[in-house]
């Protein structure tokens, strides 16, 4: 691919990433259209009816899964889902090409970490969508992924270069890959948490804004969904922090030094621990827990953008 006229690996990678962004933009518009045209569902029963008892909820059998009537928005959302798959494929190609060009994992600077995080967001969403209907969430996942990519190609773009020696370790691969999946999961969780807050206001006010939010699951379902994702992501984040500590021990001779990056990783960890606690604490289970889930993502983003750009840290490998 190096002879005159044809693209270099780097250009091919960039082209794939631009193609991703175009595809995602279309997906976002379709998701938004589908969201806006949402209708109130006709189905009233789900597969499990539950009932409150003194001990918790009792599920009773109801084997009939009522088919959901086709709605106009659903077809748009289906197309948007397919486009999201396509975009994720293109982004994967972009990342692989970037890695091939640089001759290493594509996680050497903020540009690369950003496109990897966008990839993580999309992959977490798509993997979850194979197990349940997540079309209602599409808009709120594709939009942050697109924003991240936009930021990456405009502000953070860096020519590929090799890693500085402190980053050259297989712990980098382990630590960063866990962090990328966590970025994805935390983003999806925060989106669902934000939606649950909106939905809860709607439910309290008695079904105003019927059109837009009606096709979104109930507040309780959104909260459960959020907590499931965080229950998956929290142990993984714990793992990422431990891997980071092992890496730091190897590189700098101490496993924990309260460097700003480490401090914020700790803060994120504590906030999500608080989230899990809140889910078991009377009076904190509902909207307050959702706010904590959003706060968790905020601390994660502060660590990523704030610390890389503004703070003088051992970890400032931004390449800016």
């Amino acid at each position: 691919m190096t002879d005159g006229g044809s693209m270099s690996l780097a250009e091919a990678s960039n082209a794939a990433i631009y193609a991703t962004m175009v595809t995602l933009t279309v997906a976002m518009v379709l998701f938004a259209a589908s969201f806006a045209s949402g209708r109130r569902r006709t189905t009233s029963s789900s597969s499990v009816a539950s009932r409150e008892t003194a001990e918790g909820s009792v599920a009773v059998i109801d084997r009939v899964d009522t088919a959901v009537a086709a709605e106009p928005g659903r077809r748009l959302a289906n197309v948007a889902m397919s486009l999201t798959w396509l975009a994720t494929g293109l982004l994967t190609v972009g990342l692989v090409l970037r890695g091939l060009w640089a001759g290493r994992v594509p996680w050497g600077n903020m540009y690369e970490f950003s496109i990897s995080s966008a990839w993580g967001v999309l992959v977490v969403f798509l993997v979850l969508s194979t197990r349940r209907d997540l079309r209602w969430l599409g808009l709120f996942v594709v939009t942050p992924a697109l924003l991240t990519l936009g930021l990456a190609v405009t502000v953070l773009y860096t020519e590929a270069a090799q890693l500085v020696p402190a980053l050259k370790s297989y712990w980098l691969v382990i630590h960063v890959s866990a962090a990328i999946i966590c970025a994805g999961a935390f983003t999806v969780a925060a989106s669902a948490a934000a939606l649950s807050l909106v939905q809860s206001r709607r439910e309290q006010r008695g079904l105003t804004w019927q059109g837009v939010m009606a096709s979104t699951p109930s507040t309780e379902k959104l909260q459960t969904f959020t907590s499931r994702i965080i229950a998956f992501a929290f142990p993984l984040w714990t793992f990422a922090v431990i891997a980071g500590a092992i890496w730091a021990e190897n590189a700098w001779g101490r496993y924990w030094g309260w460097d700003p990056k480490e401090t914020w990783a700790f803060i994120t960890w504590v906030v999500y621990a608080a989230y899990l606690h809140a889910r078991s604490t009377a009076g904190w289970r509902g909207n307050r827990a959702s706010w904590i889930a959003i706060l968790g993502l905020v601390t994660f983003l502060i660590n990523y953008f704030g610390v890389n750009i503004f703070v003088n840290s051992l970890h400032s490998y931004g390449g800016l």
């Binding site: 009932r51 599920a59 402190a166 431990i242 001779g253 606690h277």
Partner: protein, 534 residues
């Protein structure tokens, strides 16, 4: 669960009552939540303000620039947040709360694991939307098969039967519970957090670390006096420093030369010959940035490097008064480095301030500086002084600074390797350069335990979060028509749990069993038929 506790509105007034009230508050989930938030918030200032442990020079600078706020924040511990009493208060309270919360739960859980599940609720069959199945197999047959199969699948099972009371026909029931690992994992996770704290504390008390600069070709032996900087925990003693030594035989560096990220370090490695103790055999080792070596329990890390230009100084009579490589400290990414040479043994005493440029350049704004970190075009800029170095005063001086209060300046000169600068009091020859590397040597007796405890915490947490605690019940009884009515229901004890799959599984077990029975019955019938045909 602690969150179901009734929260006292006001504390009781007698002291015992008050203590009990306070303890109950401290060990409540709500206070744990508040303390977790407090911990998160308290961690923030340490990431914004410079910290003594990481950057003492920056702290001093900050305090100098903010004459009012600086000393105040300093007094309140804001430049050593993670060692500050208020920070410790938060995490210690959190851990006291944790222990007070978790220990009683260990007892409860221990008992729960030894007790069969509670009997099936009677109102199971009165549930809304609950549909019986009617089958042709005897109630005891269904229930014994289902309970057997559930046991095989790891459920804790209890069976029994209820006599009919008015309005409720009774029948045989199976009560099964699964997912005890959720609580087990949760408890182990919390206790492992305590272990982590203990391990970190032990490392802090008994551990030590030091920094030392070693020039290529020189050696280091592990005693306090050889360190440039050394710090130990309260219980670390000079005896805990093993008597090893090593020689830096060779140090290699490479820098990026292509346009993108030009000058970024690509490789550094130090080849050392190590002796575990005086008189022991030497072994060759390679220390790289991410691969420290271990000597006698301590770990030796490569943390930095720089240049040591070499000089020969002669006095006015031509005698050599100095012949050595001098450690210069890098000032920027391109290793523009500064250092001083002091020669107390010449008459008069001589001193030099120097600037070493591995790849030299000079411009009007920045003056002499280096444009690439490797030594492609090295030179030194020296300013020479004679007089009194001030070493006799007894006040210790840094080897990196020259006090010129009692000295006269001779002049300034730039030299390339091999050049000599002659002046009235003698001459200095810049003969070349070598490299030095700096090592951090650390001993942390708690780190293995901290690692084991964190991995334990992570695994226990994963088990806990991925396990659902749930109960299922089956009730079977004769109906009025001589068939059997079977009902199944479930209860999730974990937040946001869904037991429909388990309920379906039990139905499947029952259905398979019934189908099996039917097939067996048909077979016997057809066998009987065949027999009667013969």
């Amino acid at each position: 669960m602690s969150d179901t506790r009734v929260e006292a509105v006001a504390p009781p007034l007698d002291s015992q009552g008050f203590l009990r009230w306070a303890w109950r508050q401290l060990t409540s989930m709500r206070v744990a939540l508040i303390l977790l938030f407090a911990l998160a918030v308290a961690s923030v200032p340490g990431s914004i303000l410079p910290q003594r442990g990481n950057n003492p020079l920056l702290v001093d600078e900050w305090i100098d620039q903010q004459p009012i706020l600086g000393p105040l924040l300093d007094r309140l511990g804001f430049f050593d947040v993670y060692g500050a009493p208020w920070f410790a208060a938060i995490y210690l309270l959190l851990f006291v709360s944790l222990i007070g919360c978790v220990l009683p739960r260990v007892g409860h859980h221990w008992k729960a694991m030894r007790t069969p599940p509670p009997i099936a609720p009677r109102n199971l069959d009165r549930m809304q939307a609950f549909s019986y199945e009617t089958v042709d197999v005897a109630p005891a047959d269904v229930s014994s098969h289902v309970s057997q199969e559930l046991r095989r699948r790891g459920w804790r099972v209890r069976t029994g039967s209820d006599a009919a009371v008015d309005g409720d026909p009774g029948g045989i029931w199976v009560s099964a519970e699964k997912g005890y690992l959720r609580e087990t994992g949760n408890l182990i996770f919390h206790l492992a957090l305590v272990l982590i704290l203990v391990a970190v504390a032990a490392g802090g008390l008994f551990g030590w670390r030091g920094n030392v600069i070693v020039k290529e070709g020189n050696g280091f032996s592990n005693t306090l006096t050889q360190y440039d900087a050394w710090g130990g925990g309260r219980l670390a003693t000079a005896d805990s420093i093993p008597p090893f030594s090593f020689t830096l035989d060779d140090f290699d560096v490479e820098f990026e030369r292509s346009e993108a990220q030009r000058g970024a370090p690509r490789l550094f490695e130090a080849r050392v010959a190590v002796q575990n103790e005086p008189g022991a055999g030497a072994r060759e080792e390679l220390i790289e940035v991410n691969s420290p070596i271990s000597i006698a329990g301590a770990k030796v890390f490569l943390v930095g490097h720089g240049y040591a230009p070499s000089f020969i100084v002669r006095d006015s009579s031509g005698d050599v008064v100095f012949d050595d490589d001098v450690v210069f400290l890098p000032q920027d990414g391109n290793f523009t480095s500064t250092g001083v040479i002091k020669i107390p043994d010449s008459n008069p005493q001589l001193g030099f301030r120097g600037l070493f440029l591995p790849t030299s350049a000079i411009d009007d704004i920045r003056g002499p500086h280096s444009v690439f970190p490797d030594a492609d075009d090295p030179s030194v800029f020296l300013s020479a002084w004679y007089g009194d170095l001030g070493l006799a005063s007894g006040v210790p001086q840094s080897i990196y600074s020259l006090s010129t209060d009692e000295m006269e300046q001779i002049g300034l000169r730039a030299l390339v390797p091999g050049q000599v600068w002659e002046f009235a009091q003698g001459e200095i020859e810049f003969t070349g350069w070598t490299r030095w590397s700096s090592f951090q040597i650390a001993f942390d007796p708690g780190k293995e335990a901290a690692l084991v405890a964190s991995v334990l915490a992570m695994l226990a947490l994963t088990v806990s979060l991925f396990t659902r605690r749930r109960r299922i019940w089956l009730r079977a009884r004769d109906d009025e028509q001589g068939s059997t009515l079977v009902g199944v229901a479930g209860l999730s004890k974990s937040e946001a749990g869904d037991v429909s799959e388990d309920v379906r599984a039990v139905q499947q077990i029952a259905a398979d069993h019934i189908a099996g029975r039917k097939a067996a019955a048909n077979e016997t019938t057809s066998n009987d038929d065949r027999k009667s045909e013969q």
